[in-house]
Structures are given as C-alpha cells and as structure tokens.
Amino acid sequence: MPPEAATEHWGSEGARQQAAHLGMWIFIATEVLLFASLFTSYGVYRSVYPEAFRAAQLTMDVGLGTLNTFLLVTSSILVALAVHAVREDRPGLGGVLLGAAALLGIVFLAVKGVEYAHHVKEGSLPGDFYRLREVPQVGASLFFTLYFLLTGFHALHVTVGVGLLTVLAVRSASGTFSAAYTTPVELGGMYWHLVDVIWLFVYPILYLS
C-alpha cells in the first residue's frame, strides 16, 4: 500500500509513523511482561533451590547455547542492515538481508531441536518425566520445567519471527517497500530484535553462572 493512501486518515505521514511505532512498543511491553512472569518464577525457585539449580545448570550444553546466542545477534545485525538498506531505497538488498536473517533463525531452531533431543535422551525433562540420575530431582526438575517453558515460549516467538521476516523479505525483494515506505520493515525488525533481547537474558540464567 503506498503511504499516500494511508496518511490522509492520520493527518500526516509523521503522525501515522508515530502511531505505528507507539503501537509496536506497547505490544513489546506486553511481551516483556509475559516473559517477566517466567523470569520471576526462575528467580524465586533459584533462591529456594540454589544448589539443585547450579547442579542442573552444569549439565547444560554451554557450547550450543553460546552458538545460538551468536546466531541471534548476527541475525539482528542483518535485520538492522536490511532496515538501513530499505531506508536508502535499496529494497532488493534489504530483501536478501532479511532472508539471510530468517535463515539464521531456522538454524537457531534446528540447534534448539538438537538440544531438546539430548534432553529427552538423558531424561532431563520437566516434572514427573524427570529421569536424570546424576542430579537429585528435588529442585532440578523445576529447573528443567522453567528451561522448557522459557526456551519453548522463546522458540515459538522465533518461529513467528522467521515467518514475519520471510514475508518481509519476499515483499521487499518484489519492490513493495522504498525509502518512502519503510514502516513494516522497521516494525518487523523491532519484533526480531525483541526476540534477540529476550534470548540475551535467557542465555546467562540457563547456561552460565
């Protein structure tokens, strides 16, 4: 949709863009609060079972967690470059960069799948399904419950983000966007950055320390 058609309702293109960005920030605030409940649960149970959480953390594959962090940070950089390319009236380049970012998102999900397979194999599963003999169940099963909730919700967001980036990449490559019409790419990019920022906090509490 050309921006001229949409701006009349708002009075000006500037007001339309402001409304779009403010709406996106309010959506992001709700997402932050959603994950906040899980982070709070983690904080509470970690303070109750510090030794069990530490022992459970030592069984995590730090290498794969770090690899996934680098994948998401790199994809965020690609999205930021894509937004810049579209703003500079190079939607073709923007489409390629968005496609590459989506691809990194798919690799992230594949690595997560490998990790989940390891957990199923060794029995480090939530609640009653917990079978890991090396770490006592009390507390550790809660760690893995929160691990699967946090990473599962996050993976859901990555999946949505990959779909979003793919649609934006195709539309950008087909010339829908231009220097005069960048809002969808900017907002889609903001969603992907949110997914990245959430992982930046999930990574240290589940894999490190």
């Binding site: 500037g14 992001i28 605030a29 932050v32 906090f201 509490i205 490190l208």
Partner: protein, 135 residues
C-alpha cells in the same frame, strides 16, 4: 521540529558503519560473557552476565529498535514495562529469601488425598441435595 508532526530525527539515523560498529560491540560483549564463564567464577558471575545482557539490550533498543531517533513517549512505554518487571522480580525474590525456611515446602511431590480420605465410603460423603438436579 514541527510540533505534533515530529516523529524522528533523520540526522540521528545510523549509517552503515554505525550499524556495523554496534553489531561488532554486541558480538564482542557476547564473546566477553562466554569468556568470563570459562574463567573461575563465583557468586558474582550471574549478576555480571545479566549486566552485560542489559548493556546489549540497551544498545539494541537505542540503535536497532530506533529509540534514539524517536519521541520520548516510545521510550517511556519500554521504561514503564521494565520498571514493572523489576518490581515484580524484586518483591517476589525478596519475599522468598526472607521467608522462614520451614514454610518453604521441600520440593515437588505427587498430589495425594488428604489423610483419612484415601478411600471415601459413600456414607462419609455429604448428602446430595434433594430435589431435581440442576442442569
């Protein structure tokens, strides 16, 4: 600035080199987080790792999510949500940490019937109300 129409300052938009500099910073901070983990570490490791994550989050919000170019109202929305997260997290964790230890249950345990209710004979149940059953 043009009053209500002011949305962003194009002069504050990042150049390609700016995007790349922030990106290199993010990758370097990620590498730093991992390297600190490989060193011998103690109780401060998690706060330090979370502080580095916070710095990365601020960089992404300011430069990649365009907060730096936009009106303060957008930053206010984010700031408000972060304040509420901090209040929720701090109050809940402080409450647990200061709780009298025996009031914390010893861990997950299977759901069991209350003592004396393992097998409920029909006579022990409260009588069913008289009259036609409610749909």
């Amino acid at each position: 600035m043009a009053g209500e129409d002011f949305v962003e300052e194009p002069g504050r938009r990042l150049s390609v080199s700016g995007v790349l500099v922030v990106g290199v910073g993010l990758l370097a901070l990620t590498a730093l987080t991992y390297l600190l983990h490989t060193l011998p570490h103690g109780a401060w490791s998690l706060p330090v790792a979370l502080f580095i994550a916070g710095v990365k989050g601020v960089l992404i919000a300011l430069f990649y999510m365009h907060l730096r170019e936009q009106r303060g109202s957008n930053a206010l929305v984010l700031l408000t949500s972060v304040v509420f997260v901090a209040v929720l997290l701090a109050v809940c964790v402080l409450e647990t940490l200061t709780r009298f230890a025996p009031t914390i249950p010893p861990g997950p345990f299977p759901v069991e019937p209350l003592p004396g209710l393992e097998s409920v004979p029909r006579a022990a149940r409260p009588p069913e109300p008289a009259g036609p059953k409610q749909p």
